[in-house]
């Protein structure tokens, strides 16, 4: 993990671009949304890096990533991409993946991804930050602005829900 080191934007993009994309993909199950989000995060990092003060770089970066993700979720909810009338009930959103996305993951044989997408957002996020991104509980706590006890509870309950769905 990088701590207290002055980083250039290129170094951040090189070291974290792929992780950010995987975080977004595992939360959404959608490659296009994940790519859009990665681009947005890297642009926000570019703008914000000058103001970064030494501390928990992981917490700072993943807080930006999470905020970008939630902003995008809200934006997509407000302005869904012109669904046909019969599709209105299944407009995809990040926090509640559409059933067709879950089904698509199952058809591809990716039952683990499908099970992840069925978790409520808070639990999915905690599990992905821990087991996909590889953050410590303290770093997750900084990223999602929640106490460590909450992080521990969400990861634990998320794993139990996953186990039920995978059985």
């Amino acid at each position: 993990m990088l701590e207290d080191a002055p980083l250039t934007w290129e170094e951040v993009a090189r070291a974290y671009g792929r992780k950010i994309y995987n975080f977004a993909y595992r939360l959404t199950g959608n490659a296009d949304h994940a790519a859009d989000l990665t681009q947005e995060v890297l642009l926000r990092v570019k703008k914000g890096l000058a103001g970064y003060r030494p501390g928990s770089f992981e917490g700072w970066l993943w807080r930006i990533t999470r905020n970008a993700f939630l902003d995008d979720t809200r934006r997509r909810k407000r302005r869904p991409t012109a669904p046909l009338p019969e599709e209105i009930d299944r407009v995809a959103s990040y926090s509640s993946p559409a059933p067709d996305q879950v089904l698509a993951a199952v058809r591809l044989g990716d039952d683990i991804q499908a099970a992840l997408l069925e978790l409520p957002y808070d639990f999915r996020e905690a599990v992905v930050l821990c087991d996909i991104v590889g953050l410590s509980y303290e770093e997750i706590s900084a990223a999602i602005a929640a106490p460590i006890g909450t992080v521990r509870s969400r990861i634990h309950r998320g794993r139990k829900m996953l186990k039920e769905r995978l059985q």
Partner: protein, 143 residues
């Protein structure tokens, strides 16, 4: 000790302090139910961790365009650099025109000016990376 539940995930993640870890491990040595739960949690954790790490999309993806855009913002020199380069080029051409006899050299300089003048004024010093080079850098191994 009551059955520890949440601490079992924290135990797997190495997130328990030493006194708590010792207590949980001691309990596990005598409690089948908690060992079973630990195995289930370990299995769920391993499942998520088994998901492949995906590469960034290649080609003209939004990611690549975004990275290229940000890099070009960073690497574009200040306007005065471009203006100075153009002025120097114009001065050089002017001096060469005055000093040099009307030979083929003048023709070549004029051609150079026409062909490269605008481009040089826009990109005087730095050649931006191509999008492919950019995405190769971004998609490097995760540390």
């Amino acid at each position: 000790m009551t059955h520890p539940s949440e601490p079992l995930s924290a135990l797997l993640d190495g997130e328990l302090t030493e006194p708590d870890r010792t207590r949980v491990v001691d309990h596990l040595s005598t409690c089948h139910a908690c060992r079973d739960e630990l195995n289930e949690l370990h299995s769920a954790r391993a499942s998520v961790r088994s998901l492949p790490l995906l590469d960034l999309p290649s080609g003209l993806s939004p990611v690549e365009k975004g990275v290229a855009e940000v890099l070009s913002l960073r690497r574009r020199p200040p306007a005065w650099v471009a203006a100075a380069a153009a002025a120097i080029l114009a001065l050089f051409i002017g001096v060469a025109t005055i000093l040099a006899p009307p030979t083929s050299l003048e023709v070549r300089l004029d051609q150079l000016s026409d062909q490269y003048g605008a481009r040089t004024s826009l990109e005087p010093a730095i050649t931006p990376r191509t999008p492919l080079q950019v995405i190769d850098r971004v998609a490097g191994p995760i540390e």
